[in-house]
Amino acid sequence: MSSHDHPGARRQTVAEWLLTAAPFTWLFILFVIPTALVFAIAFKPSDPWGGVGAGWTLETVRSLRNPNYPAIIWRTLWISAVTTVSCIALALPCGYYIARAPYRWRRLLVLLTVIPFWTSFLIRIFAWKVLLHPDGYVKRALVFLRLADADAILLYHAGTVLLVMIYTLLPFAILPIYAAAERFDFRLVEAARDLGASRWRAFRQIFLPGIRRGLLTAVLMVLIPSLGMYIIPDIVGGTRSEMIGNKIAQRTFVDRNLPHASALSASLTLAVMAPMLWVLYMQGRRRGETRP
C-alpha cells in the first residue's frame, strides 16, 4: 500500500510529522542530549576541583581496565540476572491468579501489589535492615525454628542484596504480567486442555507465549533498574557485594571524578541498552510476522 499517491496522503504525512515532533523534541532534549553529554565527558580529563578539564583524553576509558572492575561487573550481572529470573518466577503465578480472580478481587489485589510504593523506598530498605539485624525478628524467628545458627549473619552480603532487590522490584514484574494476563483469552487454555494438554503444558505452551509481551516488559522493568542499582547494596550490602552503581556513586560523590563516573556510566548504559534494543527488535519482528 503506498500512501503517497494522492495529495491527501501527503497532507496526512505532514500531520504525522508534526504530531510526532513534540514527543520527539522532548526525548531529544531530556534523553539524547544528556546521554551524549555523559558519553562525551568520559573522554574529558578531570580537574582537581571536581569539574571537567579542557581537551580530550582516553585516560579515563583506559582506567576502566582496573582489575577490580571485572569482579564488580560480574557481580552486577549475576545479581541482576538472578533478581530478574526470581522476580519473573514469582510474578508469573501472582499475575496469573490476579487475572483469574473475580473482578472485584482483582482491583483489590492490584492495589495490594502497589501499596509498598506508598512508603518511601529508603524507609522500606531500612526496614529490611531492622528485620535482618542480629536482634531482628527474622533472625530470631530463624534461630527459634533452628533454620539458622545464633551467630549467622543475615546482613551485609550478596544474598541480602539479592533478597531486598527481589522484594523491591517484584511489583514491576507483577504489573506488566498481570496486564498481559488480563487481556489473554483463557479460552485458548481451555482449547489446549480439550486437545489433551495437561495444565502445565497448556500454561507453558499456550499461556506463556500468549503473554510474551508482558513478560518481555517485566524482564526489562526488573533487569534495567537492577543493573544500575546502588542504594540497596549500599545499605544492606557489605564491601564484598558492591555493584557497578556503587562505583559510579563513589566516583561522583566521594572522588568527585566526573569523567571516571561518566565512563562507568556510559559502559553501564551500553550494557543496559543492548538487551533493550534486542527485545525491541524481537518485538518488532514478531509484530511483522502477525501483521504483514
Binding site: 485458548l188 486442555r193 480439550d194 494438554a197 500468549g210
Partner: protein
Amino acid sequence: MTPFLHFNQVRKTYGDIHAVDQVDLSIRKGEFFSLLGPSGCGKTTLLRMVAGFERPDVGRILLEGVDITDLPPNRRKVNTIFQNYALFPHLSVWENIAFGLRVAKRPAAEIKSAVDAMIDLIQLNAHARKKPSQISGGQKQRVAIARALINQPDVLLLDEPLAALDLKLRQRMLLELDQIHDQVGITFVYVTHDQGEAMSLSDRIAVMNHGRIEQLGAPAEIYETPNSSFVAAFIGDSNFFDGVVTELIEPDYCRLRIDGFPDVMCYNDKRKQRGDLVHLSVRPEKFRLSLDPPPNEARANCVRGRVAEVVYLGAQTKFLVHVQEYRLAITQQHSRFLLDQKPIRWEDEVWIWWHADDGYMLDRYSQTDEELLEMPAG
C-alpha cells in the same frame, strides 16, 4: 440403540439459577444431535460438562457406559469446536492442527502425514504456514474442525460454531458440516440458538428452556407437533389464539371458542376435555388466503380479515392480516407464476382458512404471550 453419551439426572446451579435442571438425556452413537434454545437456557453448560470444563452439582455423565463426570478435559476422548474457534494465535495453521497429536506424543512422521492429509482435506495447503490472524473466518472454522477431528474423538462438541460467520458463509459451512459428519461418522453434539441450523443438520434436537429439556425429537416432529407454546414459538413462527374447548366431536376432533372468531374445529390428539383452556397454534404457511370465498370443505375453519401488510420475498409473500383484534402472520408460497393470479393487496378484504388438522392445541403456558412474541424465531 444403546445410549452412547448419557446424562443421568444432571443438575448445575449458579447462585439461585438452575443453569441445568434434572436433565436426563441419551445421545446415540454416530448421531448429529442438537441442543437448541435461547441464550441462558443451559445448552452451553451441558456441552461444557461433556468437555470437562464444568462439573455437575448432581448427576453423572457416561460415555460408552464409562462414568466421565470427574475426568479432567485432557483425559476425555471428546473434542470441542469453540464459538470463536480459539485457534492458538502464536502457532501456524499447521501447528494448530498438529497440537493434539504432539501432546499425545505421536511419532513425528505420523504427525506429519496426518496433518498434511488433514490440510489437504480442508483445502488449506496454501495457508498451512500462515498464522490464524492471516486467514479468513471460514478458513479459521475449517482449521478448528481439523484440529478437533485429527484426534479422532468419540464425540465432537460444537459450540455455536457458525455464529461468527456471515450469512452466505454460514450456509456453505452448514453443508460442509453435514458432509463431514457423514464422512467421519463421529457423534456430533451441536449447540445453537439458531433453529434453522438445528433443523437442517440434526438427526434429533433437544429444545431447552430454563435449564430443562422442553422437547426431544426429530426436526419434523418438533416443528409439526411442538408440545409446548415455548417450542412452537421458538421453532419457526406461529400464530397463537387463546381458546376454550366447548365441544368434543367424533373421536379425534373438538370445537374451540376463540373470542371474535366463529367456532374453530381442531384435531384433538391431546385428549382435551370440555372447559379446558388451551392455546391454539397455527403456523403461518398452514393458512390459505384468497379474495374469493374458499371451496366448501369439511373440517376447514374459515374467517374474514383485512390485509394490513404485504411483504413480497420472491419465493413467498408474507401477509399480516387483521382478524378482529388478532394480527395473523400468513405465508403463501409462490408455486405458480405470480401474475396469473389477481394479486392480494394492502387493505383488501380476504378469506383465510385452514384445515382442522393444521392447528394444534397447547397447554396455556406460564410464559406470557408478550414473552413468546419476543422469541428470536426465524
